[in-house]
Subunit: 407 residues, 2 copies
């Protein structure tokens, strides 16, 4: 071990000297320009816009408010294009997202992960800065904790009760006694703002009919929960549902006030397998470079490893397993009619194995060739990048900062 | 879509107002203090020190230099405790790591991912700032590209030829003609600095004997490659091998000059399954909070989802499948004798299913209980955090910044 008094002193000058060029210098460059670093996360502007409008149009057709979940991209520029007003409504998955979007003018937020008592002080602080940040919980125990906190700190925090409509993860069943008990426990401190559910099991559907049924189950369950609370004398202003598959295929949201959805802003291969989108709709991708070749194994080595692609292998349990992603040329056209996938990853290495009967050959890809990989799952793939590059016709038109991590 | 001229103007004041407290304020707090956010990535100081010393001791025993791979933690504070001098040697997996460690005084670096021609300008820039950054490649085509670049820019870049000893991923077989051709192609521009290999297939070994054999295969292959190059008239100053399993179990590194290893600084459940460490040696973990409970399913919901844990499921193909991680109490003792694992994850939700016959019961974990989860794979788990918390006896003693992403 090196004693700490032997450490060299690092000056801000040293740090500055080694810093890369500002990312804004990338605007106007082609994705094939050597100055564009790889791996980079790209978003196709036209596809993004089409996806955003499709989601909003679905909410309009269903006659409910649209509260997009911002966790997929975590970018204020995209959020502003996605939300129905610059102030929201919107949904977040972390308090760091809440802080970031609030600092950028979003005023109507639901933090849609069950609250831990220790996070209430930060929720109250964000609320004190003029943001209507609402929280969710799914037990009488949590409701009491929030109510106690509010009384102790002489503040009021609006709470949605999380309802479980499909046994997916968290929430109280709509028919259970604890739903009413939790609402009662909120009284005298916190404020019941509504009910919320997420039909997470819609991600496991095999047919569109099954997604339609999941949407109806989501609607019926939340409406039942709201009805029971109202019958018990509670006001339930917000009745919130949502998942990308059910938003896309719901036939009615009668009794619902708002719908949430996240991944449908970018879509991904998992959603393609579900039948919710086509691969041409996928707006997010990873730009990568060929860095090696293994002739005997008919493999290319790329600089898109598992940090760049994520370890998500969700498509392995679906009708088509896309490995670590579908490989396209730099402009986004799938190679060999969509037959080429990233077959393996290490931390900073991606492995592309050409099928023996592929129309592509290793010689088609000299070192330095740029490729674009469509991800299994947009959310974990976009998450580690410092910025995302908005692209139109192969040219970078904007550099989008976004939230990373939990700080 | 909201027209861009309707956007609210965000002031630096707004951003500052919403910022969380500086992370340094966490120093001195207990991991059970509500002010310590969850999820957080913790590193146990004592275990880290033991692991670092064990790796250095192995290199000393083997009589070779130790060039730690910094990609696991990406932190200069840990690097300084790990390296044999503040200037290195060390290994990095991205140019962003190279910049960061160079800015912090590390002068002897290998960027151990096959070089793409487009990255040479940045390599040359970093070298021009006084850093001996070496690169690797595994083809005559790449060697020519580097040589051409060096001639054109009147600079010299030291290159190690990557050798494939086990068919794991990339590299040239030690016996192939292209190894000599690549060395020849470097002449007149670049500079041959040595040969390098990584026995990546040691991660698939089922017994310690198999790891010992992998280590000997790694050594024999790289020595053969160096010997053939020397016989062809080339100087080969660096003969570099390494992987954490082979470092731990190599019996001889005769003919090798240096050994690299990364994950053995922190270890993880994958390494435990390999037999390379015990679960008590695992220094990195995720601090999480209980945020919900599903009584019928005997499940707790935590705030450690797949962004916090990573989607890495490497242990699913090993002797024990740890799900998304092994669950411990907040101080790091595995619950129920090591029987409790994180069984599922969504983006910000972790699901812990208690076995029916567990000694633990849901009531033992009120909302807000803090738990610590040992990860399958340290590298992707640590990667997304802005900082890592160094912990001793349950108290945070330092906040470690590190590199994230590729910028």
């Amino acid at each position: 071990m090196i004693p700490s008094d032997a450490l060299p002193i690092v000056s801000p000058e040293a740090l500055g000297k080694f810093a890369p060029d500002p990312a804004e210098a990338l605007i106007g460059l082609s994705v094939n320009d050597p100055r564009v670093p790889t791996p980079s996360f790209l978003i196709e502007d036209g596809k993004l816009e089409k996806n955003l409008e499709r989601a909003r149009a679905r909410a309009r057709e269903l006659g409910v408010a649209f509260r997009p979940h911002l966790k997929t991209h975590k970018s204020i520029v995209i959020a502003r294009r996605q939300m129905t007003s610059p102030e929201g409504p919107a949904t977040v998955s972390t308090l760091s997202e809440a802080r970031y979007f609030a600092a950028n003018g979003v005023r109507d937020l639901i933090y849609a992960v069950g609250i831990a008592p220790q996070k209430l002080a930060e929720v109250a602080r964000i609320r004190s800065l003029g943001v209507d940040l609402k929280i969710i919980l799914d037990s009488e125990e949590a409701a009491k904790a929030v109510s106690d906190f509010c009384r102790e700190h002489q503040t009021e925090i609006p709470v949605l009760l999380e309802v479980d409509v499909d046994g997916h993860r968290s929430g109280l069943p709509p028919e259970c006694d604890e739903l009413i008990d939790a609402a009662k426990a909120l009284q005298g401190g916190a404020k019941l703002a509504g009910v919320l559910t997420h039909a997470g099991d819609s991600y496991e559907c095999k047919t569109i009919e099954a997604i339609e049924a999941a949407a109806e189950g989501e609607r019926a369950g939340i409406v039942q929960a709201a009805g029971r609370l109202r019958a018990a004398g509670f006001e339930v202003p917000i009745v919130s549902v949502g998942s990308s598959p059910t938003l896309m295929h719901s036939k009615s949201e009668a009794g619902v006030t708002e719908i949430r959805a996240g991944v449908c802003a970018l879509f991904d291969l998992f959603m393609t397998n579900l039948g919710v989108c086509e691969s041409e709709d996928i707006a997010g991708s990873v730009l990568a470079t060929v860095i090696g070749r293994q002739t005997k194994k008919n493999q290319l080595i790329l600089d898109s490893g598992f940090l760049a692609m994520s370890r998500d292998r969700g498509t392995s349990r679906q009708k088509r397993d896309f490995g670590y992603g579908l490989v396209c040329d730099a402009l986004g056209t799938p190679l060999d009619g969509g037959r080429i996938i990233l077959t393996g990853t290490n931390q900073e290495h991606g492995i592309l194995t050409l099928p023996a009967d592929s129309a592509c050959r290793l010689d088609d890809f000299p070192l330095g060739t740029r490729l674009r990989i469509l991800p299994n799952h947009a959310c974990p793939t976009a998450a580690p990048y410092k910025y995302m590059l908005l692209v139109k016709n192969g040219i970078i038109i904007d550099v989008l900062e976004h939230v990373r991590g939990w700080d």
